[in-house]
Symmetry: C2
DNA sequence: AACGCAGTTCCGCAATACCGAACAGGCGAA
DNA sequence: TTCGCCTGTTCGGTATTGCGGAACTGCGTT
């Protein structure tokens, strides 16, 4: 484990989470490293374009090179490239926005976003991260993970984003069991009030859940009446299954075990 | 300059540019570093989520952490957040897609993309990079840079992307002079056949050109007839000026010098 | 069955990154 | 204006740390 690289990434993370425009001194005490050390790291990162220095205040903030690398990641993500057409189809079939996501640590990372066909301005959510237990995408993925990883996630932090977030491991475990039974997961305003979602897991040739696809929208559209909800669930599950086949998953993978 | 951080970034860059899914050995000889060293770097980056290892082949590819950092960069980019409403307005006024970009090294980096109001599927170009001299955005920014940076860019590599790309420094210098005169730059299929663009620079309180905003679309829409072209140019320049004011640029900045 | 090549591990050397202390520049208070 | 305090920055000695040669292991091929 290379120490200086580890510290450099911590610097980037700190700039990303704590407000941007941090000074050398502030960064140094946040990370617990001597000031000159942080300075050297910053200079290196700056020469690579991953960090830039505000000429007026002398403070540091994230650099454009990160966006290029982030975009390069998206291109390597086979799930994303393969999901584009399926996501579009699902969006027009359901009339709702469609998200495709993968699991990164204990958060869900949105890698593709097909806009709702109709409707006003929508902001692009690619790159957004959400705690796994507060969204349908996350529950869909985790439900089909090996049980040791599942247990680890259930024991981790389970923050509450809204009054409806579920933070009790026992309740979540039960929900996951249910997801394994029906093949899709549901979120009812657990990450943002007014928003709901339905999602199903996507598998690749290894048989592991590599991500999930699902619809996201106003709770009135997605979950209001039972018939609409069922129609959405069927559409989502079907698309997820097709996408999985395209990624090389055999018929015998987890979603057919249910 | 911290050596191991520099090398770690080189690893990431190599994975981003050369095809993804590179092996340790291949990376080692590309970068000119011993195999065990690269291995240690990769393990560190993997533990940070910036790199992941394909379990089947053992080869390495970019990780999801990069997307999170790239997105965090976008949030720090004041130009982007401020430009959103202006870009939407410009898109509906002109009926074309609108891009907002900054200069990163000798490339232009798209930080915001407002879709064309009408029209079929469009792919999101945020994160895309284009050589500065092959697009209107790039010429608009460079034209108002300090003359030493301008000279450096003109002396650098000027690759040709299409048969219409301009790679002669003298011709480009003349174009930049013209841009300074009229306050906007034009691209005629210099980065992709069939695509054209018109862009104006955006300034901040320091008076430096921090980016550019402009329309991009089929050459038939953007440059076909003189009247439409002029209308677009006026709209672009006006929006760029308003955006600059919002970023704190005084009346006395470069775009009014022309 | 033997080969070659991949990713991985080990260990000693010394190059390298770390940090304490001192420097320079900008801002606010007095 | 002057002082003092706070930045970001530079320097150089120390020993921690990362480096790479050589050896190991497991897979796919010949």
């Amino acid at each position: 484990m290379v120490q200086s690289v580890h510290r450099a990434v911590r610097v980037l993370r700190e700039l990303a989470t704590a407000g941007p425009r941090l000074g050398v001194t502030e960064l140094a005490e946040r990370i617990g490293v001597a000031k000159p050390t942080v300075h050297a790291l910053l200079r290196t990162l700056e020469s690579e374009g991953l960090v830039r220095q505000d000429r007026e205040t002398g403070k540091y903030l994230l650099g454009p090179g990160l966006l290029q690398l982030g975009n390069a990641y998206l291109d390597t993500q086979e799930l994303r490239t393969r999901s584009v057409t399926w996501a579009d189809a699902l969006a027009s079939r359901t009339g709702e926005a469609v998200w495709v996501a993968v699991l990164a640590e204990d958060h869900v990372l949105v890698v593709h976003h097909a806009f709702r066909p109709e409707g006003a301005v929508q902001i692009l959510e690619v790159g957004a991260t959400i705690p796994w237990h507060t969204c349908a995408l996350g529950k869909a993925i985790v439900a089909f993970l090996p049980s040791d990883r599942q247990a680890a996630l259930l024991e981790g932090e389970l923050p509450r984003l809204t009054g409806r977030s579920v933070s009790d491991p026992a309740v979540l475990a039960e929900q996951l069991e249910q997801v394994r039974g029906i093949g899709y997961a549901v979120e009812d305003q657990e990450s943002a009030l007014g928003d709901a979602g339905i999602a199903s897991p996507v598998f690749d040739r290894s048989g592991e859940a590599v991500g999930a696809i699902g619809v996201v929208g106003p709770v009135e559209h997605v979950l209001a009446e039972e018939t609409a909800r069922r129609k959405h669930a069927v559409a989502v599950r079907e698309v997820a299954r097709n996408l999985s086949r395209e990624l090389g998953a055999g018929r015998g993978t987890a979603w057919s075990e249910a």
